[in-house]
Symmetry: C2
Subunit: 450 residues, 2 copies
Amino acid sequence: MTQALRHDAMRARNLALVLGAVGARGSVTRAALAEMTGLTKTTVSKLVGDLIEGGLVVETGTVRDGERGRPGVEIRISGQRVAALGLEINVDYLAVCVVDLARTVRLRRTQAVDNRAAPPVDVIARLGDLASAVVDEAVEKGLRVVGGVLAVPGPVDMTSGVVHNAPNLGWRDVPLASLLRFPFPVRVENEANLAALGELWFGSGLPDFLHVSGEIGIGAGLVVRGRLFRGAHGFAGELGHVVVSPAGPPCRCGGRGCLEQYAGQDALLTAARAATSVRAATSVRPAADTPPAGASRNVPAGIPHEDAAESAGAAHEGPAEAAGAARETPPPEMLLPAQQGVSWVLSRLREGDENARAACERAAWALGVALSSAVNLVDPDAIVLGGIYAPLFPWIGHMVADTLKARLGQMRGAVPPVVVSRLGAEAAALGAAGQVIEQVMADPAALLHT
Amino acid sequence: MTQALRHDAMRARNLALVLGAVGARGSVTRAALAEMTGLTKTTVSKLVGDLIEGGLVVETGTVRDGERGRPGVEIRISGQRVAALGLEINVDYLAVCVVDLARTVRLRRTQAVDNRAAPPVDVIARLGDLASAVVDEAVEKGLRVVGGVLAVPGPVDMTSGVVHNAPNLGWRDVPLASLLRFPFPVRVENEANLAALGELWFGSGLPDFLHVSGEIGIGAGLVVRGRLFRGAHGFAGELGHVVVSPAGPPCRCGGRGCLEQYAGQDALLTAARAATSVRAATSVRPAADTPPAGASRNVPAGIPHEDAAESAGAAHEGPAEAAGAARETPPPEMLLPAQQGVSWVLSRLREGDENARAACERAAWALGVALSSAVNLVDPDAIVLGGIYAPLFPWIGHMVADTLKARLGQMRGAVPPVVVSRLGAEAAALGAAGQVIEQVMADPAALLHT
Ligand SMILES: [Zn+2]
Ligand SMILES: [Zn+2]
């Protein structure tokens, strides 16, 4: 290492040290920074000058007594210049947000869109349009977007940016990172991991939890002492494919009886719709005569046939079956567009619809079963229900907790509490932007050099 | 902090630094140690002197050229003095071992004993006798046992040493640490965690794996980048209570259909015996007429009634049922003592017994189901089967791997390989002793002061 390289490395380390100290304290004088970091005041002043020039910190302008009575201008992280882009491609929506370096969410957009049928390039083009508009708005506010992270619903090879398999999008081995065209670096990561980080940085503030990210698919992110647990290859947290019932309905992952087949959004909607149509249509066939296998012949609109078959097959399992709820899927023409989202289930629940309630009960029971396996394996301190489970929480939270308690209470002194995420579906995009912020905080020199 | 305290803290830190450097290199000169640690040669010589006096390192006596051609006496970790005691209480055996600081296993004893009926104080007394004999032998070899760790089959509160619940021992809230009487400190920890560490330090040498510790109960320990993952409260890795079938047989943990009810040693033996007796007794009742519920009425010797009922109930589930294997438990007088251990199953398997094979197939299938949930959640790089699954590996390994591949292969590029532990049932006691060694290496000053 040459003298110059060594100097650069030391400067980079010290810039991160000073910026980290500013972030930890909120606002702090140069004198206090020198004390905190062990650097000389001259060095601190030089570094702070560089950070101000780069727009990473600002002087607050207020002068007050320092720690030892000396007056000093205080420094804090600047929210005016450096910003991060959070992006998410999910099965039925796109989301983007801009977060500034002071961790304030400045812009957010979501777009409801069915990405299941679309080839990756089309989805990326649509996401690019949405992101461009948001970045333009950010620039108008004087922000400089320095990087982005894109959340996708499936395991991602973190080094290559290849999405190995996003079964609910129908994507296999998509080199997503290489298809992106942004004027700043954008990494790709698993949606469930990022949603957990979003919850950590922008949500409850808990340091230890398992965040459940329910959409069409179901993922989870485990945070232990403020750090995301990724597993050996970054593929940890695939809660949606934890086995609820080993001979249950086949799943797109190749397994059978996965949680997703009981509590994923499609499974939940299919169950709720089927029950509703039986009740509404006063039975072309009497419910009691309908063999469950026959129910899968009718395919609801907008859902591929295999999916409907699986979901109808799912009705064989779980407590709703025991409760005697009859199931039949309506023909496509009977479905309203509003029935395709979780908001439809919510409106049914608010009306006191018994069948929507039964569908939620079945989903909550399955979540409880899968989460009892998860608690046994990874021992989280709390369970945070996010994604679609956030709005559904009043109807499912208690039942999930009860199932957990019934299965875990005897073995463990305390069963982890089941709480609701304040972020819901926005968690992943926020976590994505938050990761860029973390990276800037860890290596501000990289930004100042560009 | 006073000057003296600061000096002590620095000396402690430097002793650990030097001892760690010796451990990492195997053998090394004082000059090379000074280079590695950045300490002066005078300081290194003083520290090495202290470590030699404490019996932690020795001079090899051989003089050879140092790194830069200077001759020097090499130092290495001493296996002659400091030693650690590993202890294990399991459901049907006790184990103790002594490992020296150079990580050589010096003594090992196991005692087959049924601890299920015994109160904790009696079990501890028996363990104490076994340990005393081994420690006496170690002393005769010139070793000084400086500490111990005790492995127990259940979650342990690491700070209080209370075993909250070891369902297979019938223990609840046993303040185990406070009941132990040893002339050196002994900590208590979960058996599955320690078995994984045993595998890490004395087994395959893999840095990333999920170790499955099958005995009467089934636990697992996850090692990620050479470190044990403990979860928020140290209760992670309870693989035995991962759900295989949600409405399956009740488990002692309070749940239903847990892995233990399909693949634990008792479940495996009950299944193998039942099948054997049906074949051997040429049917008092024809197998086809026997309702599975009726099978649980006959309770095999040495197994509490609830357990047999659960295990027989378990026959409702899994592929063996589909294969048409008839099951009936024999009356107690028909059972030989040798049928109570896994060695009996092994002898049946070696004779080519079809029913023992079917029992193993069912256990392997259940292991595959539970492990597919585990892989989805924690993403291990490899799965190491230990405990009773080590000797059973030739009969179950392939089936476990096949089940995993069927359930995970489509979603993940590479399914983690399923390999056999070289340690088997000794892993936990070895991991326990290894933890003491780790502690000595991390803080040798604590030992030198006593
Ligand atoms: Zn699946
Ligand atoms: Zn259990």
